[in-house]
């Protein structure tokens, strides 16, 4: 294991940011720390980097106990949400910073900077100042700067959080390809479940300072450990005593299966190819169902239609822990 976090607790005044967190992050993989804002995931990343210190617990990186090491001795690369570029230095100087600190020979530094700028497609900008770059370019520069020191682990704190949706998506794919090329152990923090599902090999779901679940994207989506994980990775609704995804509910206009729940369609909303139904069951529960436009039309669903709902075969179903909520 590349990074081992054992029993880490961190409080800010009365607020418990991390509550006895234990997690091991494997070598060479791209791991996402996923969770809602304020859930402690950035704090965990900063503790791994040494930018914050844990109240209790230990962090070891590649088998070395790093708990007491200052950030500059941990050999980690860190990429910040707001880039943290060195404003008074050119792009090339920014990338060279870590190497110059390490007193590497000049020609070696120049060669490495060249190579990295090529990797992040910024070669033609090497003499510009960061203020002349776009947000996406600045973040790629920051990534090159972090990679320059050949870190044991690369840590990214909401790296695409400050970028617009389109650039975000491009950089996300690019990060995945970059990771396949350089294969350094990478951990990134995100609150965007789509980003985590798309990019990561492994996802650690963190909420209210605790690790809720660790697993591959498929495991998390198909076998959520609890209703929080299930709810965070996609839409959920309650059907009788269970929680499941709205697109995993089968709708029929006749009571074909035993155990089907009877209800009336109370609202129909169409968004492109998708149709969202609110169904009020005879027990007074409001269930959300999503189906395709074609399917909905073939069933002839309109408001006030009486329908029977059953979980689809193979649906992910967990017992609902909360009282039946709306939606």
């Amino acid at each position: 294991m590349s990074i081992d976090v054992t029993g880490v607790t961190k409080t800010f005044g009365d607020f418990v940011a991390l509550d006895n967190v234990n997690v091991s992050l494997p070598t060479g993989q791209l791991t996402a720390l996923l969770g809602p804002s304020g859930g402690g995931k950035s704090t965990l990343l900063r503790i791994i980097a040494g930018l914050d210190t844990a109240d209790t617990g230990t962090v070891s990186i590649e088998g070395v106990n790093a708990t007491k090491l200052p950030p500059q001795k941990r050999n980690v690369g860190f990429v910040f949400q707001h880039y943290a570029v060195f404003k008074h230095m050119t792009v090339a100087k920014n990338v060279a910073f870590g190497l110059e600190i390490r007193k590497r020979p000049k020609d070696e530094v120049a060669a490495r900077v060249d190579e990295l700028l090529k990797l992040v497609h910024l070669s033609q900008f090497s003499h510009r100042l960061p203020s002349q770059l776009s947000g996406g370019q600045r973040q790629r520069m920051a990534l090159a700067r972090a990679l320059a020191v050949e870190p044991t682990v690369l840590l990214l704190d909401e790296p695409f959080g400050a970028l617009d949706a389109k650039v975000r998506k491009e950089l996300r794919e690019w990060l995945r390809r970059l990771h396949d090329e350089v294969a350094v152990t990478t951990v990134f923090v995100t609150h965007d479940q789509e980003e985590a599902l798309e990019v990561a090999d492994e996802i650690v779901v963190i909420n209210e300072g605790r690790v809720e679940q660790v697993g591959s994207p498929d495991q998390l989506y198909d076998e959520p450990a609890n209703d929080f994980v299930m709810g965070f990775l996609g839409e959920v609704t309650n059907l009788g005593p269970m929680t499941l995804r709205p697109h995993d509910i089968e709708v029929s206009t006749a009571p074909l299966l035993a155990g089907a729940v009877e209800g009336t369609v109370s609202r129909v909303v169409r968004i492109g190819f998708e149709v969202r139904l609110s169904v009020l069951t005879v027990d007074g529960q409001e269930v959300m169902v999503v189906l395709t436009r074609t399917h909905s039309r073939s069933l002839g669903l309109v408001e006030a239609t009486t329908v029977w709902l059953t979980p689809a075969t193979g649906a992910v179903v967990i017992p609902s822990m909360r009282p039946a909520l709306v939606g």
Binding site: P71, R74, G77, F78, F80, A84, F86, F97, G98, I101
Partner: protein, 270 residues
């Protein structure tokens, strides 16, 4: 912006310009006029009087020391105030503004109470150790430091706050230690604010009168600074010399202001 009618606008302009003219421009220009009333001879004459030359040298020495000390402590205290949390931080911040509101004479008297060789709280013991503070340059440098203390800090603190500590953290994660981070990242970012603060401190230090007068003892030829000699000469009916030295002081201050005005646009860009 609210529209103001033309006559009102003109009235406001006349009031503003008139106020500055009668309060600042006219009196200061009179000093220059008096200085050069009989040609440049009187002005350059001050450089032949050993007491005046000594006073100017002393002023420069005291000012440079005070600026150097305030530079080091100013930047350090600014970093402390912006980057660290500690009990008493707000008190420290308020204390730093004290020299702006307290009369320099009070500062001088306060220093006298602590360091005076005969009656001071601390003075006799350091005098025994061979250190003369009051009626000598250490006391004058201290007094000047005190009055110029907030100038560097008040310039640097807002800039440090604005740039945040992201860049410093990035430098740390890239392997830089505290000293390297300060020299390579923090200092270049606050460079213009520091220069601006230094220029202001220098102007303030050269012109300090009240505090220095109290602690220096105003001994002619030994602890008399340029501002003190202006007063002494004026009272001794050597008006021309007084005007000449006064003009020199005003000239240096204006030169400082021009330098500042020249630096300002770059300072705002950075």
């Amino acid at each position: 912006m609210v529209k103001v009618s033309t006559p009102v606008r003109w009235l406001l302009r006349v009031i503003a310009v008139g106020y500055v003219f009668f309060l600042v421009a006219w009196p200061v220009s009179l000093v220059a006029i008096r200085t050069f009333e009989d040609g440049t001879e009187d002005f350059f004459g001050i450089f032949t009087d050993p007491n005046t030359v000594g006073a100017l040298q002393l002023t420069l020495m005291v000012a440079l020391w005070a600026v150097a000390i305030n530079l080091v402590f100013g930047v350090t205290i600014s970093l402390l105030l912006v980057r660290y949390e500690f009990p008493g931080k707000r008190v420290l911040s308020a204390l730093i503004d004290l020299p702006l509101s307290v009369s320099p004479v009070v500062v001088g008297l306060a220093l006298l109470l602590v360091f005076s060789g005969r009656t001071g709280w601390f003075g006799p013991s350091i005098e025994e150790a061979g250190w003369q503070v009051i009626y000598d340059s250490p006391g004058m440098i201290m007094a000047t430091c005190f009055v110029a203390l907030p100038l560097v800090i008040r310039e640097v603190v807002p800039v440090l706050t604005e740039i945040g500590d992201d860049q410093e953290q990035a430098a740390r994660s890239l392997g830089a230690n505290g000293r390297q981070t300060f020299l390579r990242i923090t200092l270049p970012s606050i460079k213009w604010a520091v220069i601006y603060g230094v220029v202001l401190s220098l102007a303030r230090s050269l012109g300090e009168f009240g505090a220095v007068k109290v602690v220096s003892g105003n001994i002619t030829g030994r602890t008399q600074t340029a501002t003190l000699i202006v007063e002494a000469k004026y009272q001794n009916f050597e008006q021309t010399t007084a005007y000449s030295v006064a003009f020199l002081l005003a000239f240096i201050s204006i030169a400082c202001l021009i330098v500042v005005a020249f630096l300002r646009p770059q300072h705002e860009e950075a």
